[in-house]
Symmetry: C2
Subunit: 506 residues, 2 copies
């Protein structure tokens, strides 16, 4: 059987641009994973890994023009957004270089022998070691930051794990360019290029997660695709960690006081956040609780004005566009749902942003309106108008897990009601915002980009310094002579690493 | 249908002692989980949790005589061992009280707003919050330390999670006693007793892991039982973390030099470790690579002498005894396998310790001898005699994941061969020992009791301070007014917690 061709497609026209590669067969996946596994030892040196990550950032920046051109042609995300995304991606690679150099991620604990304990302690020394080959499933909506050179790859390489990326079919040319950048960066430091590989094709992705030499997987994408791969990872003879970011509604609660004080500003902010990148953010605010009646009307008017002025947009691919059009149509037909700005088809290849409103009481019990509590990927949000705080909490209690949850309060409002609402939002999400918008995700140590299922299939983050923890496992050495210990655990701390010794930080 | 009775059985005679309880129906499991979920907020206060854990330790110690009597009658582990286990269990509860009070486990990160970053950072503050109700599946072989009042329960309560324990059927009376101790300790501090509950019965255990309000599970037991529950946890509509410790061979490598220098001592140490607790330790050294020929013979002789002198022992239940007898018989019948001390049936209810030897070359390729690479629960170990270092590494490369791996070297031997062997053992286990025995597991911050599958179904530990991490998830607050933040994250650090602020530890 001839290998299936992989085409780069222009989403603005639906026309194929060029054949980029061929889908990997099961044999090719096996070969690539074995090659990655064989060179895993080459990533043992932290200094080399950090330098490799920095060179990757440099080479990506050097290749920016070419990469952004390819990415725009394949994704229609536009040069401005992609320029920002490339800068973010380069900064992310450099941030993980710093994480590797600092070494706090090794979580070194040393307990000296202590016969006074129950039972007595022998000399114990723990740090974290890489898991092995990591499979990365790239996302459609961030062709750089959550794709080949993105956070999963950067954090896995930082941990010392070779990476095999399953390219997203929406940007195969960009993926090839970026993989080549990463492999050149590796070679620049004398590392085997096989520390980063790329495969294309749905079947290749399934074969990858099932491969016995793959030790963990990272995924960003849909609930359906992510859950299928999660299930495959769990069903292996030897199950592996599967860190998937699958989907999120990202609820927002606007208090009465906030709507009264700055309804217009909140409406405009919401419009900007939900239409950003054609609504193709996993952190898009997709569900907003707004007071019913006069207090909320100013917000709705402002939202209406700004969304009406938003241009129709090209989505990442035709299938997503069609799913969006079908999804908003289905939701708009529900009883008591209105569309102050009707979302739906724009031209043949575009969509029009819009939003729906519904009385919150329609959502307090199971029923057909539950479709409004499911993510609809694209430039739409659902505004539920509430009559009371009880209605807010009743609806919130019915939401699935989320990446983010947001509270819009009045100025410095810190009254009991705001505190209660924040307490109701916290169980729903991995990141809780007050008076902000969820779409931006800073690459910072205190970041957490993850949340209760289906937002994430684990308790981990895919953004920020602690994303590295996903690709490591602890190992403790007991009563091991200093000369046999890894340098990280030797008594004299020759590498000058942060450690916790007998309960005290050094 | 009448509820199934739960009997306490005397393993020394096989006779029932008393009816202790009834198996929980699905409705009862649902009621218990809902009750636990309803009171989860009562565990929010760290000071109260720490006091609760200390009182639990005190009350367990006060009840020692009664608890040990029941445990011995049900498990035949003997008062000496159980006295030590109770002391360890109490110390473990107190250790988690310290972990809670210190607060490092909250892993607090604060990044102040920084517009110079790419993209800019808003104010971000992260800590960890409890996951919710935790299901604990108690082990047979540690009726205290890995059962109702054991490490899973202590760490989950420390994290702020209510616990529902599925009792092990081998010690239901001990389980009831211990649950009552924990519930009294809760009440002593004004906590609802429902923060700890106990259910009996196989079906109850299955219903528990599937309950929508159960957020995570901890398990210690067999590969078969643990994998079935792991699969059920992964197959839920909302999958949950399942931290299972399933099984381990715990390989030991004795170098030529070590065998030459102190073969007698190693043989005696091995005999003590493998027969301890009738070989019913998850850390029992079950597979030992010993040099062939004269160098290893002294070790074998010493092992033979000490094991021959070991008394026959009662196992935890008749099913385990029968499985041991069948398991050692099957292994002893393999070609080239000899039994210098034949393990097997003792009396009607007892087993005789023993060990098997086999040439290591029989194990370098797949075949019937692979049975020797599977854990056999009970007082037996397999000694594989190797001809070369190549044979050692060939056999090691075929081993499944383990809790521990041990290297026996000569004195201060730190030559290249020892370093190579340690490097070959590290990928196999979560704890690597040099010149020690794996059976003891210290409850220390630097401990790691876990390892590659099937040793553990996750990368976590079930012993030591970091066991608490299993029951937590991070949450980040973004641009949240100080008055609305949880006290742990407020700017002034009112609780005096260890934190990492803008990259610096406080």
């Amino acid at each position: 059987m001839a290998a299936a061709p992989v085409w780069s497609v222009d989403p603005r026209t639906g026309n194929p641009r060029e054949q980029v590669a061929e889908e990997a067969t099961a044999e090719e996946v096996d070969r690539v994973v074995r090659a990655a596994h064989a060179v895993r030892g080459s990533l043992a040196d932290r200094t080399v890994r950090a330098a490799f990550l920095r060179t990757a950032a440099d080479l990506l920046t050097e290749a920016a023009e070419h990469v952004i051109e390819a990415a725009d042609a394949e994704t229609a995300l536009g040069p401005a957004r992609l320029t920002g995304e490339l800068a973010r991606t380069a900064a992310q690679l450099r941030a993980f270089a710093e994480v590797v150099e600092e070494g706090a991620y090794l979580d070194i604990h040393i307990d000296h022998e202590d016969g006074s304990r129950t039972p007595p302690w022998p000399d114990l020394r723990r740090y974290k070691i890489p898991l092995g080959v990591v499979a990365v499933y790239a996302a459609s909506n961030f062709p750089l930051a959550f794709s080949v050179p993105g956070g999963d790859t950067a954090s896995a390489l930082a941990a010392g794990c070779p990476v095999v990326v399953k390219a997203h079919p929406d940007h195969p040319a960009t993926s090839e360019l970026c993989a080549s950048v990463l492999r050149r960066a590796a070679a620049h430091h004398g590392l085997p290029e096989d520390v980063v590989s790329l495969v294309h094709g749905f079947d290749a992705g399934v074969a990858l997660v099932k491969h016995p030499l793959v030790s963990a997987a990272g995924f960003t994408g849909s609930v359906r695709g992510g859950r299928a791969l999660f299930d495959a990872a769990a069903a292996r003879p030897t199950p592996i960690p599967f860190h998937g970011e699958l989907g999120s509604l990202n609820p927002v609660v606007v208090t009465e006081a906030a709507a009264a004080e700055r309804g217009e500003q909140i409406g405009a902010g919401l419009a900007g956040s939900m239409t950003m990148g054609a609504g193709q953010f996993c952190t898009k605010p997709g569900f907003v609780l707004v007071p019913a009646g006069g207090t909320g009307d100013q917000l709705i008017k402002s939202l209406t004005d700004v969304v009406s002025d938003s241009r129709s947009a090209v989505m990442l691919d035709q299938r997503m566009r069609d799913a969006f059009v079908a999804g908003v149509r289905e939701r708009a037909e529900l009883a008591d749902v209105t569309a102050p700005v009707t979302p739906g088809a724009g031209g043949e290849h575009t969509v029009s942003p819009g939003f729906l409103t519904v009385p919150a009481r329609r959502l307090t019990e199971e029923g057909p309106h539950d479709a409004l509590l499911e993510e609809c990927f694209g430039p739409v949000t659902v505004v539920a108008r509430y009559e009371s705080e009880e209605e807010i909490t009743a609806v919130l209690s019915r939401l699935p897990g989320n990446l983010t949850a947001t509270l819009q309060t009045a100025g410095e409002e810190t009254d009991e009601s705001a505190a209660r609402l924040l307490a109701a939002l916290t169980p729903l999400a991995g990141r809780v915002l007050v008076n902000g918008w969820s779409t931006g995700v800073a690459v910072a140590p205190a970041q957490h980009h993850g949340g209760p299922y289906p937002a994430t299939t684990s308790t981990s983050t895919s953004v920020g310094a602690t994303a590295i923890e996903r690709w490591l496992r602890p190992v403790t050495y007991q009563t091991t002579p200093d000369a046999l210990l890894p340098p990280e655990l030797r008594e004299s701390n020759p590498l000058g690493l942060p450690r916790r010794v007998d309960g005290h930080r050094e």
